[in-house]
């Protein structure tokens, strides 16, 4: 399967194991025995893609079907891209080394706005035309899923179909529609109409967007009976939804190379900046026994020595402590470590620390997100300074000496007082450490603060907000540095230019597709990788296409404006987002859904009635 050309390329590049597949758990089938070949494409490197749980979930579900073969493809690193161009090797799947153009379906996952240029690079390397309207049945169906599809408009022109919401049942349904079309010899137009009938599937060519003179959306015309509003797909019974237990185990080190079990989906917190907290609503937990069994199967099937309890907020699982007890019955014996990312400061209990430190001690990470109580109330991050200090006290008493604190800057209503608050918070943690008589002996403390730039995202209450300009953000970054006095505190912050471009694409519309093509043609690729990011090229391309970047990023959106993502629904009502935006202006907080329902509308997704996130029959 590895021919001479490929061998030549592999010998010339770093880490050739990224391109050769064959890992434990990878699936091989006889192409003659399957009806649908699906290429699951991750528009970033192998190491990043192989850390992504969603790919493992869908790979296992699709390959469980006898008549479907799902293979993987990743964005080759720049050295490999060069070799492939020179040797004329088209982009291939890493299992069978089949060129992508020979698949029935090529599916991309949209995880991050700045990987859009890599999608074009992958299509180009595969010899597949960018625009959907230029592709007939001689090309694979090009589809997309993942969180960024909630505003897929900037890339809508490239895809035949875009999947909103949860893919576990939707993706096999899409494959079935393709199989059906193949069997019956349907035309592409007929197939697309059939796809538009699947829950959560958006067929961009069936929607025409009309614009006002000022560049805002005027109207969306729907064709051929496609739904006026596409509502995301959602699993009917997440509590008992099986977990993947046969990961493909990467041989070239992935970023997150461990067993992962998804303990819950969605989040009850409602932080007003957080897109994941709104688009995955309502929060649903998985059954604790099922989680324990899956974790054990997964470790045994993969040989991993670390299992991570993954979710947006793991400590919100109502059965977390009993689950940990169950896990701790077998993990030490089987030489498996437990990792708990996404803990919340406010329910970070002593027994929880004790249970995780029994296996391994490393740094702790907390995310207060804002430096003052006022601003934390604005963003609805319901965490108090007392809680931060209480959690840090617990951590220090248990032998931790490194704490990482995550913040954002550029949040709505933010003042310089709030920026100073970031430095003050870190200083308070340093002071706390030295005030503790029980602090770890002979060790200093390290407090790292990492400050991201706020990016307003669709389907959050802050979608209406403008992003700070790059100049404002840089000024705030400089001010923060001047506020930090202790050498125990290290500060890192994001490149404001990257966050700016991210905001443009997050809130962009269909006009951006031509900018993407232009930028790709001018060498933009791997934009999320700081050293390869060509900001000036992007700015030039926007100018050339006559599109104002600030229109998308730095302009507040009036409540009555039709947003580019108005024809999508994630269950949460726009009126709720407006209400939350207004509460933010007054620094009023909103209770987490499991304590008090705020009526966001997501209950309708599950057929209405009482929301599962607020089910009082579950013991808390």
């Amino acid at each position: 399967m590895i021919d001479k050309k490929l061998r030549k390329a592999l010998l010339a590049v770093q880490k050739p194991g990224r391109y050769t597949g064959g890992e434990l758990g990878s699936v091989y089938k006889d192409p003659k025995q399957v009806e649908c070949r699906f290429a699951f494409c991750f528009p970033d490197t192998y190491e990043v893609g192989m850390s992504f749980l969603g790919m493992k979930v869908l790979y296992e579900i699709l390959n469980a079907r006898e008549n479907i073969w799902c293979e993987r493809a990743f964005m080759p690193w720049v050295d490999m891209v060069e070799q492939m161009r020179e040797l004329e090797i088209p982009l291939f799947s890493i299992e069978s080394k089949t060129p992508l153009s020979q698949f029935d379906i090529v599916g991309f996952t949209l995880q991050y706005e700045l990987s859009y240029s890599n999608i074009l690079a992958m299509l180009d390397l595969a010899g597949i035309p960018f625009y959907a309207r230029k592709r007939g049945l001689e090309y694979p169906l090009i589809v997309a899923g993942g969180p960024c599809t909630c505003n897929a408009e900037p890339v809508a022109d490239f895809f035949d179909a875009i999947m909103l919401g949860e893919g576990e049942e939707q993706l096999p349904a899409l494959c079935d529609a393709v199989i059906d079309a193949k069997r019956r010899g349907l035309s592409k137009e007929e197939l697309l109409v059939n796809l538009s009938k699947i829950k959560g599937v958006y067929v961009p060519s069936l929607y025409t967007v009309q614009y006002n003179k000022d560049g805002t959306v005027k109207h969306v015309v729907v064709h051929k009976g496609a739904p006026r509003v596409i509502e995301k797909a959602i699993l009917p019974n997440f509590r008992h939804q099986p977990l993947p237990t046969h990961f493909t185990v990467p041989m070239v080190g992935a970023v997150h190379d461990r067993a992962m079990v998804e303990v819950l989906r969605g989040c009850v917190r409602g932080c007003r900046f957080c897109q994941a907290g709104f688009i995955y609503r309502p929060m649903r937990e998985r059954d604790a026994d099922m989680l324990n069994g899956a974790a054990q199967d997964l470790c045994r099937n993969t040989g991993y020595d670390e299992v991570s309890l993954t979710s947006l907020s793991t400590s919100d699982h109502s059965q977390l402590e009993p689950l940990l007890d169950k896990l701790l019955e077998w993990t030490p014996r089987e030489h498996v470590n437990l990792a708990l990312p996404s803990l919340r400061i406010d329910n970070f209990s002593e027994s929880l620390v004790e249970k995780t430190t029994r296996v391994r001690k490393s740094g702790l990470t907390f995310a207060p997100e804002a430096g003052t109580q006022r601003l934390r109330d604005v963003i609805n991050k319901n965490v108090t300074m007392e809680e931060v200090l209480r959690s840090c006290t617990l951590a220090f008493q248990n032998g931790y000496t490194a704490v990482k604190l995550y913040f954002m800057m550029g949040l709505p209503t933010e003042t310089m007082e709030d920026i100073k608050g970031i430095a003050d918070t870190a200083q308070a943690v340093v002071d706390l450490f030295y005030s503790l008589p029980t602090k770890p002996k002979g060790k200093g403390v390290t407090v790292s603060i990492s400050v991201a730039c706020f990016v307003p995202k669709p389907f959050t209450p802050f979608q209406f907000a403008a992003q700070d300009t790059m100049e404002q953000l840089r000024e705030k970054q400089q001010y923060l540095l001047s506020c930090v006095r202790s050498k125990k505190i290290s500060v890192s912050y994001h490149d404001a230019r990257i966050s700016f471009l991210e905001a443009v694409f997050a809130k962009g519309n269909r006009k951006l597709s031509k900018v993407l093509v232009e930028a790709y043609k001018n060498g933009c690729c791997f934009d999320g990788w700081g050293d390869l990011f060509k900001f000036d090229t992007w700015v030039d391309c926007f100018k050339k296409c006559g599109i104002d970047m600030a229109f998308f990023a730095n302009r507040p959106i009036p409540f009555d404006e039709i947003t580019p993502w108005e024809h999508f629904s994630y269950g949460v009502d726009k009126s709720f987002l407006i209400e939350e935006f207004n509460r933010a202006q007054q620094a009023q907080t909103t209770m987490p859904c499991n304590r008090k329902c705020s009526g966001c509308g997501a209950n309708k997704l599950m057929g209405g009635g009482k929301c599962v996130a607020n089910d009082q029959s579950v013991v808390r």
């Binding site: 010998l11 050739p16 045994r300």
Partner: protein
């Protein structure tokens, strides 16, 4: 505690697993196979693994081996063989599980089959003319990252062409081990410079590891 030596083949996709990555792959395979492995007793317990002789990236081998320690006094060798074969990635196959008779320090020679595609007669002629030169100076990278010039000629004596009808096949034995190790890739690139034979037309397979006295490494 017993030391077990596992013998395996590395080919196809698996040729591109680097030595460092292979260590992790084997650790996970042992774990997945449920083999009763001994862990180091330190602060960070891990599986204790040693490989006989690292294989350069891109080469095949039918004579690789690694050693691990087991807690059991009478380990079930057959069970280890079957369980490991179910737990390894494509291209890595266990063909024997033994008790080590020699330490890897005993390795002094490695034998390779180098198979060339193309016109066998012409390749043999060109290569023989090259190999028969009294002096063959090449640049060899040293462990410290420098470059040292060395003469390959004295090390190319143990060679033989196999009677292949398609292409040509060279059976070559080269010094190997910790004191002097000559990578066949070095010879192929010198051959390319002298004769233009493309190293990509050749595939390398390690077939045997031998001691100083040309005994089979066991």
């Amino acid at each position: 505690m017993q030391t077990i030596r596992v013998w395996f083949v590395k080919r196809d996709e698996a040729c591109y697993i680097s030595h460092l990555d292979l260590q992790r792959v084997v650790q996970r395979a042992l774990k997945r196979a449920g083999v009763p492995v001994w862990y180091t007793q330190g602060f960070n317990p891990h599986i204790y693994l040693t490989f006989a002789l690292p294989l350069p990236l891109g080469q095949q081998s039918i004579t690789e081996s690694f050693d691990f320690k087991t807690e059991q006094d009478r380990p079930d060798i057959d069970a280890i063989y079957w369980q490991l074969n179910r737990a390894l990635p494509r291209g890595i196959e266990v063909f024997a599980v033994t008790r080590p008779e020699m330490g890897s320090g005993k390795i002094a020679w490695a034998r390779y089959l180098i198979r060339f595609e193309g016109d066998g007669e012409s390749i043999r002629k060109k290569a023989e003319a090259f190999f028969s030169r009294p002096q063959l100076l090449v640049d060899k990278r040293t462990k410290r990252g420098g470059i040292k010039q060395m003469d390959l000629a004295p090390y190319l004596q143990k060679r033989d062409w196999l009677p292949f009808t398609q292409g040509a096949c060279l059976d070559l034995t080269l010094p190997a081990g910790s004191t002097l190790n000559i990578n066949p890739d070095l010879i192929l690139s010198a051959l390319e410079q002298a004769t233009g034979i493309d190293p990509l037309d050749a595939s390398i397979c390690r077939t045997q590891l031998l001691t100083e006295t040309f005994e089979k490494f066991r």
